[in-house]
Symmetry: C2
Subunit: 129 residues, 2 copies
């Protein structure tokens, strides 16, 4: 697989909320860095953070506007621009994101997403009681 | 010039705050979109926004962590991950940014920077009186 394919397949698994499939693309020491929130390390941390979050939605679609890759699966970099969309009931919310993925030995060693924390909070504010 | 070279030269001109040189890389209908703040159109708007802002600093250095390009100068895309650093006196401030550049006919038609508005405000808060 190319770096581009690895990231595309990883994102596909995330949007199906198939954390087992997603984690198969992650290195044991993967760093998952949501820039304005903070970073975590390891596939288990990614799965236990993203899985329950994703599970609160009825449908997930991360639209890739641009994705550009360089290098090989042995050592590569993929950058993308995305609209991460999440549906609950009839309502879609969207977070505009720019992602950085570093690949080594066929797996993702760094996943860093740039976004605005205020936009995140607006999109994912808990429903009022 | 390749899309990669166009963006690298454009960024070099910005960090020298040479707005004439920078604007030579911008299409007449360029859109400059600071995602959490808003978008503007046209080289004159870019120059009149960025120039006076940059002029308040003694030194500017935008460190490019990754930059990946595809296509040609006729139609291309460049994505990068940067640390935009600004020095005033002895103090450097830094904004972590992911940038998207669309190129057409040798010039930049879209420059979109993803960052966190709270980080921007922390970095560039006016000095207290």
């Amino acid at each position: 697989m190319t770096p581009d394919q690895i990231v595309t397949e990883f994102i596909g698994a995330c949007t199906r909320n198939d954390m087992d499939a997603a984690c198969a693309y992650l290195a044991d020491d993967v760093v998952y860095d949501n820039v304005p929130i903070g970073a975590m390390t390891g596939p288990a941390a990614v799965a236990s953070t993203l899985g329950p979050f994703n599970a609160t939605f009825d449908e997930i679609d991360w639209v890739i506007h641009h994705q550009v890759a360089t290098g090989t699966a042995a050592e590569g970099v993929v950058l993308n621009e995305r609209a991460d969309r999440f549906r609950r009931g009839d309502t879609w919310v969207q977070l505009d994101v720019a992602g950085v993925f570093e690949i080594r030995d066929g797996r993702i060693t760094l996943w860093r997403d740039y976004f605005d924390i205020a936009a995140f909070q607006r999109a994912f504010a808990p429903p009022s009681a």
